[in-house]
């Protein structure tokens, strides 16, 4: 078992690090560069940048932010938001990103997953899924930051994305995101049996116990967290040391 990865998530709007609830109600947190360097220095295993309005406006403004991050941050960087084509991905990879995350564009054109993985390798392609709970133990994929329904079942989409060449899955619970009320464990339990590629959980971490639960019960390979770190409710060293106490393998930098 590789170590469980701790991945701070930086949602970006324009030049700012922002944070919302249920992916909405956005507030400015600060300068993303300051937070990125702080997380790197305190032992983050990777960083995840999301341009959360990019898909609405059909643009991508993250290259500059990623470029300056890559000067000071020597851990893997994943970038998502507004990536529509191989050329978009290429530009971000050339700016210092190691992986790209795609959601809306992959739903609209699933072949994009194959194109990206053939060009850059599947390890480079993170399929990002915004999941909202439905009745009957099902989850539906949403796009545009939890605004638009797609009618696509999450578990079915996971299977298809893997077949098309996805290298990792980032699954965000729209219901739990920003609430600090814990992860949607049922969601990850439903996905883990079909996830033959690494699975990153995102949305809802409020305390150390939430981390424990999503790793042990949810069976995820990595945990992405935002709010809990941005507002200093917990630090990465605290999370790491609690994980070790609880017999969860994490990197010891």
């Amino acid at each position: 078992m590789a170590n469980i990865r701790l991945i701070p998530r930086l949602d970006i709007k324009g030049p700012n690090l922002i944070k919302g609830i249920h992916l909405e109600g956005l507030r400015v947190v600060g300068d993303p560069q300051v937070y990125a360097v702080n997380y790197y220095e305190s032992g983050a295993d990777e960083l995840l940048y999301m341009d959360i309005v990019a898909s609405l406006y059909g643009r991508n403004n993250l290259s500059d932010i990623v470029k300056s991050a890559a000067e000071n941050v020597f851990i893997p960087i994943t970038v998502g938001g507004g990536i529509r084509s191989v050329a978009d991905a290429d530009q971000l990879l050339r700016s210092g990103a190691d992986k790209v995350a795609i959601n809306t564009a992959a739903i609209n054109d699933p072949e994009l997953i194959s194109k990206l993985s053939q060009r850059f390798g599947s390890q480079c392609v993170v399929v990002s899924i915004e999941a909202k709970k439905q009745s009957g133990g099902k989850w539906e994929c949403y796009v545009d930051n939890g605004r638009e329904r797609t009618g696509i079942d999450v578990v079915n989409w996971v299977r298809e994305a893997i077949t098309l060449g996805a290298g990792e899955l980032l699954i965000t619970s729209v219901d739990k995101e920003g609430t600090r009320k814990g992860f949607d464990l049922e969601l990850y339990k439903a996905v883990k049996d079909v996830a033959t590629i690494p699975l990153i959980a995102c949305g809802g971490m409020g305390c150390l116990e939430d981390f424990d639960n999503v790793v042990k019960d949810g069976g995820v390979d990595a945990v992405s967290m935002a709010d809990v770190l941005h507002y200093n409710r917990l630090t990465l060293p605290q999370i790491r040391s609690a994980a070790l106490d609880s017999n969860i393998n994490v990197r010891q930098p």
Binding site: A2, N3, G43, G96, P198
Partner: protein, 209 residues
């Protein structure tokens, strides 16, 4: 200290460049044969598929210059796909010839563990590296502690004869070749430039070779 990075139009060169800049190097990108041959320290980076990588190297007529550089005895470091391309061949999407600077093939990471369980591939994340057949003395790992965690992201792995294995890591019971050495030729499956301070220290040690 001057370092030369082979630019063959594929992959994320920026991370490698930034990594060496952080430790005070003057980094040159080399897209032409003569720049490669005249380098004093050479890095072969790379992400993506093996066949594509070799094709780009050949299309730019860089295969012979890289080989000529390697024969000169000056230090060469291949990173990730750059390490895999040092071997003789790969079976990723067909069969492709590599640079052949290190004997052996590149094969798929077994999808089953020795215990018979299926496990996840690609192998993505931080794994501790340990000593293998070749001593770490007088290599870029000379100051690295065993079991130091470094960042891996790969679906295929190098399978050289044991006498070229410099480091390995355990992935659910599968032994993965993490670093290779053949004289002045080195390779890492992991990304030292993405492995935090531990990885940057390895890059610094490479400069002393």
């Amino acid at each position: 200290m001057k370092i030369t990075v082979v630019d063959y139009g594929i992959g994320n060169l920026l991370s490698v460049v930034r990594g060496f800049q952080r430790i005070g190097c003057d980094v040159q990108l080399a897209a032409a044969g003569e720049e490669i041959v005249s380098a004093s320290r050479l890095i072969l980076p790379g992400v993506g598929a093996f066949g594509d990588g070799m094709e780009e190297i050949r299309r730019r007529n860089l295969e012979e210059p890289i080989r000529e550089y390697a024969e000169s005895g000056k230090p060469l470091l291949g990173i990730c796909l750059g390490m895999q391309m040092l071997l003789e061949r790969s079976f990723e999407f067909g069969s492709h010839n590599g640079l052949g600077l290190i004997p052996g093939s590149v094969i798929e990471i077994p999808k089953q563990t020795p215990a018979g369980n299926t496990h996840k591939t690609p192998h993505i994340g931080w794994s501790g590296i340990n000593k293998d057949e070749v001593s770490w003395e007088d290599t870029f790992l000379q100051t690295t502690s065993p079991n130091s965690p470094v960042y891996f992201v790969h679906s295929y792995m190098a399978a050289p004869p044991i006498e070229y294995r410099l480091a390995s890591c355990d992935y659910n019971g599968v032994s993965i070749c993490a670093a290779v050495k053949n004289g002045n030729i080195y390779g890492t499956q992991f990304h030292p430039e993405k492995s935090g301070p531990i990885g940057l220290e390895m890059l610094e040690q490479f400069l002393t070779l």
